[in-house]
């Protein structure tokens, strides 16, 4: 199903928490994002209701509503279960902690409210306190026939900015799909229903839809009896009408006044199973192209044994033929892409392609792109990959190639035999970096994966947990973790796609999570670790992290906050004569080097295609203290190191303080004379070889607001030194190293790396 931005947005979950580098008490500054050309700010976006057009309970159907709070805030949603006539059957408030998921058993809710209804719709009203649509939902229906069968129904968010049209594609079934149309309007409306089959469009019919009503009918032929439930429709439909169908629904009501869902019925032995038909508003689509990520092709290790054959169903909803190019991208040891054959889909018709001759990667690293020459919304596609041996299959939602709401946010589980596989696909012409995020057991695991053009990457979450795979910061998911949430982020979401597959090889069941939140850049946090630098001293200055929002608009720069992530980063200094950025200017953490005494500003900015956000911080360059040393040599052979202090005082004056023996020894012993000290302005000591700029560095003080005071103590220690008093070489070999050590102690420096080969230290 394609996501309907603004009119029928579908959001799942995210768990993007902050990306702070472990540092002690950084100062964090926050700034909101501002739109670039094409971007928009969303102010007090009125919260729209979300709707599940159809739930079914009983007669081997059961329904569970999975709700996920994508936001970093705690919130709630109010559920209203409506009967077919639109009357309220039950209500329930569901509370959420930040980034949490809740499961609501619809049957239990009905029974708790003494309702005997088995069919209806669900309206979900998120809290008005959210700044954007942050609640993601999916209705997980299960049909317990001879083999259990999942029917996944994504939740719709109708809005006023869309069109009056919804379109869906059903794969080839036995009999016409069972269609549910649910009203969100307080007015009666008429909905034109038209099926587009292999042989073209069948005559449209018009059904009336009362306010709040859910109308269930056969998609292509009726019967149109108000109040009929799914069982009745299945009983009355002509099961001999085969073939794929495109379904177009056109209302005479206001945009956003209805939602729809359909199920295609398939015979299997003496029973049946269903595939889902998701509807989307063609106005919401950004491109005419669609992407399918992680498709089973041939044998696959994650699903029931047997060869899986992809089936692509294409419907042309226009009056003009469209030409379609489908590319199969496979990644095994290397990535290859091949066109599986151009086809033409005639006007107002549906065409089915069974791709029998493809051999794919067994770990699902197979993806497809479907390009058409029609306008966005003209060609719609559905992909089902079904085992040759039976009824097991995987349905894949078509993703708009230019979809921005594509950052995942899915619940993963590895309970019992369930496997969760994160599938990522770079459908652009260049390599992309995916930041994959898996949370669970209290750990936020993040790792970057660089994918080549047309590469698909399958990441087994069970492997991450059980093989203790380290993320980019060395973290591992705790042993025994069995569930959590996963998401991903790519700087330009239009170039990449992903989904989560939950599968169980023992039962042959697979559940697909493809919907996503938008992962918009809506602001930055800049954490400043160290605001004081010193000349020639490199400090880890700050880290910048974008925070993400979901807004319901594709290019918004504000909304309900979902977490944080990295975006394109840039750093610069306002005055490079005072402080420079000698290393990377495009990585989130930045190092700053002082040049000369003064103060300036360091600026950081994050950019996404439509939004930018920045923050600035001060840096002061003042005073330094370095413990330097040099070798004393016999020719080229070192016989010991002589150490001294090189520092800058509060006036910006550089000094060298050191010590050495007096030259009035009359004895033949080394331990004669006195240890005297000197303070020499500049960068050389009293001995010409004491070249502070070029001699080795043993240790340096971390720049701070108080460092000038410390360097004052270095100077005071030298000035108060009692000349011609301390015997040289006595009392543990008192020499220059002893003086340097005691100078540092007097300045309250904790010297962690003393000079090597320095007796007397």
């Amino acid at each position: 199903m394609l996501l309907l931005k603004g009119t029928l947005g579908i959001v799942c979950l995210s768990l993007l928490s902050s990306l702070l580098v472990a540092q002690s008490s950084p100062i964090t500054k926050t700034a909101p994002a501002t739109p670039k050309p094409g971007g928009v700010l969303v102010d007090s976006n009125p919260m729209m209701p979300l709707i599940v057009p159809l739930f079914v309970e009983g007669d081997r159907f059961s329904s569970t509503l999975v709700l996920v709070n994508n936001a970093t805030d705690q919130t709630y949603a109010d559920l209203t279960l409506r009967g077919l006539d639109g009357k309220t059957l039950a209500t329930q408030r569901v509370n959420f902690t930040p980034h949490s998921q809740r499961r609501v058993d619809i049957g239990k809710v009905l029974r708790a409210n003494s309702s005997v209804a088995t069919t209806g719709s669900i309206v979900i009203m998120p809290s008005s306190g959210l700044a954007g649509p942050a609640i993601g939902e999916m209705l997980a229906m299960t049909y317990t026939g001879s083999d259990p069968n999942y029917i996944d129904e994504e939740v719709s968010m109708p809005g006023m900015t869309g069109s009056r049209v919804l379109q869906g594609v059903a794969d080839s079934g036995d009999g016409p799909p069972v269609l549910a149309i649910s009203s969100l309007s307080e007015m009666n409306q008429h909905v034109q229903v038209q099926c587009l089959g292999k042989n073209g469009a069948v005559p449209a019919r018009v059904v009336s839809l009362a306010a709040g009503e859910t109308f269930i009918t056969g998609a292509c032929s009726g019967p149109d009896h108000h109040g009929s439930d799914v069982t009745a429709i299945l009983r009355d439909t002509d099961e001999h009408a085969h073939g794929p169908q495109g379904i177009r629904l056109t209302s005479d009501g206001m945009p956003g006044s209805f939602a729809a869902f359909a199920m295609a019925s398939h015979h299997a032995r003496s029973d049946r199973f269903f595939s889902s038909v998701l509807f989307s508003d063609p106005k919401s689509l950004n491109s005419p192209n669609t992407v399918f990520t992680g498709v089973p092709v041939g044998d696959t290790s994650l699903l029931t044994a047997g060869r899986y054959v992809p089936q692509l169903t294409l419907t042309n909803f226009s009056a003009k033929d469209v030409h379609v190019h489908t590319t199969f991208a496979k990644t095994s040891r290397s990535t290859s892409a091949q066109e599986v054959g151009p086809v033409t889909v005639r006007a107002n018709s549906t065409r089915e392609l069974v791709l029998r001759n493809l051999n794919g990667d067994a770990s699902l690293q197979n993806s497809f792109t479907v390009h058409s020459d029609g306008a966005p919304g003209v060609l719609m596609a559905k992909f089902v990959s079904r085992s040759e041996s039976g009824r097991q299959g995987v349905e894949l939602q078509a993703k708009d190639e230019a979809d921005m709401e594509n950052a995942g946010g899915h619940p993963w589980s590895i309970e019992q035999n369930t496997e969760s596989t994160l599938l990522l696909f770079d459908h652009s012409t260049s390599s992309q970096v995916f930041t994959a995020r898996v949370t669970g057991g209290g750990v936020d695991w993040q790792k970057e994966y660089r994918l080549a053009s047309m590469q698909t990457k399958a990441i087994s979450i069970r492997d991450l947990v059980e093989q203790r795979v380290k993320d980019d910061t060395g973290k591992v998911l705790p042993k025994g973790t069995i569930s959590g949430e996963t998401s991903w982020l790519v700087t330009d979401m239009k170039k990449a796609s992903g989904r989560l597959l939950q599968s169980d090889r023992s039962t042959g069941m697979a559940r697909n999570f493809s919907c996503g939140y938008s992962g918009l850049l809506c602001g930055v946090n800049m954490s400043i670790y160290q605001a004081y630098a010193a000349p020639n001293y490199l400090i880890n200055y700050a880290n910048i992290t974008g925070y993400t929002c979901t807004s319901g608009l594709p290019n918004a720069c504000s909304g309900a906050r979902t977490g944080s992530a990295n975006f394109t980063t840039s750093w610069w200094s306002n005055n490079t004569a005072i402080a420079t950025i000698p290393g990377s200017k495009i990585s989130p953490p930045v190092a700053v080097q002082g040049v000369k005494q003064g103060a300036t500003t360091i600026n950081g900015r994050l950019d996404s295609p439509y939004c930018s956000a920045g923050q600035s911080g001060p840096v002061t360059v003042k005073c330094f203290a370095q413990l330097k040393y040099r070798a004393v040599e016999v020719w080229i052979f070192e016989v010991g190191n002589h150490s001294y202090w090189w520092f800058q005082d509060g006036n910006g004056q550089n000094w060298v303080t050191d010590a050495g023996p007096t030259k009035n020894c009359i004895n033949t012993s080394i331990d004669c004379g006195f240890l005297n000290s000197w303070a020499t302005a500049g960068n050389h000591g009293q001995l010409p070889d004491d070249d502070a700029i070029n001699n080795a560095l043993a240790w340096q003080a971390t720049p701070s607001a108080s460092l000038c005071t410390n360097t004052g103590w270095l100077m005071a220690y030298q000035q108060q030194w009692r000349q011609n008093t301390v015997p040289y070489g006595k009392n543990k070999a008192s020499n220059s190293n002893t003086f340097a050590h005691s100078s540092g102690s007097n300045a309250i420096f904790t010297i962690t790396t003393p000079p090597p080969n320095a007796p007397g230290w």
Binding site: W635, G640, N667, T668, L687, G760
Partner: protein, 329 residues
Amino acid sequence: MQIRWIHYLAITAVAFFSLGCANAATSTDTNSDAGSRARAASVLFPQFDTVEYATTDVLSRFTSPGPNAPNNGADQTLPLSLRLPFVQLIGGLSFLGKDTLTALQTNYSGVLVGAKGFTLPEGLGMVHSQDCYIGLLRPGGKSIVEAYLNQSGSQTIDGQKVWTWTAPPYEGYPQTTTFYITEIGPSYFVMGNDLAAFRATVHQLAQGTEDDSKISDPDALSEKTYWAYRSIRWNKVTGTIDPAGPAAQTATVVMKFTVDFGTMMGQVEADSSDEALQTDPKHLPGSEVFHYERKAPGIWQAAVPIAKDPDATTALFTVAALFGFGVSL
């Protein structure tokens, strides 16, 4: 009485380091090695204040091995202070060619050094001394001297062919150094930086005048691959080496230092018959650095780790200074 004590110590020292090495050879020793070492030691002891010995294996451990050598991640090099007695040897030979030091380590089992005439550097630098080195050729080893002696530039001193060369000044010693080297028999080279000491050593070694009959302390055998010996006049009041100090304030102290590279521990020993020094170690040389323990009347020992941490570095430099190889820093 004091004279008799000093005489006894000198004889003991010769026995300790020469016969001891001969009889208790290390795994790389041969009887021939041990014998030549004993003879060389007996030549140096009468002439020099300090005598030290190191195997060439030890002398090769002050620099990191080449990039092709196995690297277990640990710093296997030795503290530089142990090299100080041999820095004139290493420095002088390095002027003869970059391969000379490698040839020394390949062909010679060890080197003894005798040193005397210690003078302070000007400012920072190393104490200068008159040093004489005796290299002990391994059985089957190839002389590093022979090629020079056969060159036209060699000269004859006291009937011996001698090669001489000079080295420039260095920090604390603003004079050129002239080196002399010659070969004695099939087993030795003698190298020195002072002509008089060099001639005397060559003469003694060539004559074979050591007096083994005076060796009388076979219990003090040493198997060490690195050792040092020095007899000093120690001023108990000023805590300095004081050869000319008043008799009431000074005492003879024999300093010994040995290293066990298996345990990476050194041992300083201070022996004296002085009554005050027999009971109270605080007046012993280096007592502010070493933790002396009394082993026998007049015999004190202190352990010194062979390590590079600041405390060990100070202790090892103090050892070097007590044996005359101090450094002003």
